[in-house]
Symmetry: C2
């Protein structure tokens, strides 16, 4: 897979050298001579990766990285810093600035290409979801925006054949989360299927017969652990193993001797990226839900009822069963609105919805059709069950006055029409009509009562 | 990247051999001894690819493929058929059964692994989107389900350095769509940025200096053409080039001599897969839109207005500009509903929404708040502009009676309240309240009029 890479360096010779190497591997390369220019390009063009020098006049690579990660428009872009500095503390500084990796000069081919390929692939995997999430975010109100999930005491799994080495890694991770270690691959695989596990650290130096790469591959083959952040540990300078691990889907690696701060910084980078992906997923899922939720009451809306009525009819037809539909309309609601104003009207609707939800079974589907009109789909409910439910709700509404903003108490009553499949109608439209007609009957006979469709 | 592969073969020795080869490349392999068993596994487990023998007793590989592709639950699974048959007509038969590729025995390593990797990656890229689309589809009514887009005379781009070879390929494709050929890579790249291009065929045997692989990589680096179906053409038995092309993102390839029917079948397979992806995208996008659309009138809903009011206020504050909000409420709507029934009431709401949309500027945002209450956000509109718009709409409603189902004509009038930022309020809530108060004033003063907030 190819990708579009931005090289940032104030030295044109460095740019040319790196460009030639990446271009020979069929990456599409563009360049910027300063961090400021790089930011402008990242904001205006579509890119897959930024590869930046650290030491640059005016703005250095750390600051470039910080700014790209802080801007919602560019936060998803992977950034790799390249530097002559080679102390773990330098790497930690880069990672803490938000860099996804830190390569030391002279940059060897294998770590460079394997890293660039891995980050490009991960970024492209996320693109599709990110585009939907952007649409979703545009149509949400400020209140509805999804926050990144808070990971309280995240669960971390450490996998390796050496118990003592596992314990050492576990101690390093204890600041970040609760660690469980496994020597056995099958047990570890079992453990990471748990959604609470948010990071897995795998020792890639396994003894003969136990292939940690296979564990890695199996982890990625399973849908539940496909996106799980995974950091490999290799022997000192074992670029070969590291490259293979990235190819098989590890997100990052550290080489021995393990530097505590570096491992911590890399783990935090992975967790941040994981949270970002989860936020995108939740944003899209939440917006999809909003399509079928009534904004005022939180009940499902008419669209959802319509989608389910069709299914309820065909299921009931198949197993020759019954189900009921009830339509409930607040009596003289217009008066409440006219006398007390919209705010009080809205509060009455909300309390009405709350009581409706309490009154029905968990398997029943309570919806707001619009205005002061509500409906409940009662699967497997015959006429008697539906009537009992309707009456229970009607009495619950009548029994105690509704407290509303401003301290007033308003007495509310409700009229209800009930239709039963198949007696009152054999398709969604005729059932709705039958329930509606029954509701009119209840209204005409003096309101605050339940009527059953003929 | 790894993946989970199902091998289907009635010969256990074949299974063991293939399993060993794939497993050595770190794929997670399971097996089935018959097509029926394979179908059961595909329906119950999560998989990335099916690799099936053709000749099997009871149900053969063609039929297995057909059934998997016909079932919505398994249609997304890539299927590769393996067979001793080696005529182009056999391959065509496999492709027409819906297979994504057709490998001949003995299966060589390079075509096997490059194909399995490519199909697994494409499938996994689509998984995120497919999961969202499934959620979306669940909450849509039958009417709202998105159909696969119809590609009328799809545009096809042929790229190659040999004009006569391009023309020959173009003729082969003429049954499928309208072909344009390019010898120049830059021109071709420009052409495929067009959304109407749905297939690109690239001759990978370029002369020195013109590297078709680079064209392929650049095509994939650009966001507009990242998902474009791309078929490479290689020299006879040039597995090396074919493997590289798949790695760089080609979806498929044919080898010379090109068989007309095979190229056509592969092109159709690509178009079908493209349509599938587009359907998923449209399903999610459509559902996201539904979250902010009022189902009855097609106008935006209150949620969308709320999301935009906040932005309108902060933008107007920034550039010290004005904007207006108007709330319109149908007079005596309850009477229409009570006299003529819900169906007529709904028709009135729809016609009212239609007239409202005609009466406002394209930049204005018309919404249904709920029931018979509507709102319009008018960016950059001062009091005078808002008042003119409101009065134009009010007169348009009054001027001609509303035709409704059953042939009746109903005279409708509307009362309107207008609030102006910043005079009537400096935040969304107080503006809504001011417009609401003005609306009550219009109602109290006899309806069918516009009132401006103090």
């Amino acid at each position: 897979m190819s990708g579009r890479i931005l090289i940032v360096d104030d030295n044109p010779i460095n740019i040319r050298l790196l460009e030639a190497r990446l271009s020979a591997e069929y990456f599409d390369v563009i360049s910027a001579a300063s961090a400021a220019e790089a930011i402008a390009i990242c904001k205006s063009q579509s890119l897959d990766l930024v590869l930046s020098d650290v030491m640059m006049p005016e703005m250095d690579g750390f600051e470039l990285c910080r700014r790209l990660k802080a801007d919602p428009q560019t936060t998803h872009l992977p950034v790799v810093l390249i530097t002559a500095l080679d102390q773990p503390s330098d790497r930690v500084k880069g990672l803490e600035a938000g860099a996804d990796d830190f390569l030391s000069k002279p940059v060897r081919d294998l770590p460079l290409f394997s890293r660039v390929r891995s980050l490009t692939r991960l970024k492209q995997m996320m693109d599709e979801l990110r585009r939907r999430a952007e649409t979703a975010s545009d149509i949400m109100t400020a209140d509805e925006q999804v926050d990144a999930p808070v990971l309280r005491l995240p669960q971390i799994v450490v996998v390796g054949s050496d118990k003592r080495a596992n314990a050492a890694v576990g101690r390093m991770m204890s600041e970040i989360g609760r660690v469980t270690s496994y020597e056995d691959h099958d047990e570890a695989l079992q453990a990471i299927q748990n959604r609470d596990v948010v990071l897995c650290i795998v020792d890639l130096a396994g003894p003969p017969g136990k292939d940690p790469m296979r564990f890695l591959a199996r982890c990625r083959s399973s849908e539940a652990s496909r996106a799980l952040p995974l950091i490999g540990i290799t022997a000192s300078d074992d670029d070969q193993t590291a490259a293979k691990a990235l190819e098989l889907g590890a997100h990052d690696y550290v080489q021995r001797p393990i530097d505590l701060n570096e491992l911590n910084a890399r783990a935090r980078t992975q967790l941040a990226r994981y949270r970002y992906g989860e936020t995108l997923r939740m944003t899209v899922e939440r917006t999809l839900e909003l399509a079928v939720i009534d904004g005022l009451t939180g009940l499902h809306n008419r669209r959802f009822l319509d989608a389910h009525m069709g299914r309820a009819v065909s299921e009931a037809a198949k197993r020759q069963g019954a189900f009921s539909l009830m339509i409930a309309d607040i009596d003289h609601f217009k008066r409440i609105n006219d006398t007390h104003g919209h705010d009080v009207g809205d509060a009455v609707l909300q309390e009405f919805a709350r009581r409706l939800e309490i009154s029905v079974r968990a398997s029943d589907l309570a919806c707001r059709l619009g205005g002061e009109e509500f409906a409940v789909l009662l699967p497997n409910a015959d006429q008697r069950t539906a009537e009992i439910t309707a009456e229970r709700f009607r009495k619950f509404v009548e029994a105690t006055a509704f407290g509303v903003p401003g301290g007033a108490e308003i007495t509310v009553t409700v009229s209800i029409g009930v239709a039963v499949y198949p007696a009152s109608g054999e398709d969604a439209t005729s059932l709705m009509r039958a329930a509606d007609t029954a509701l009119y009957k209840a209204k005409n006979e003096g309101r605050n009562r339940t009527a059953i469709a003929a």
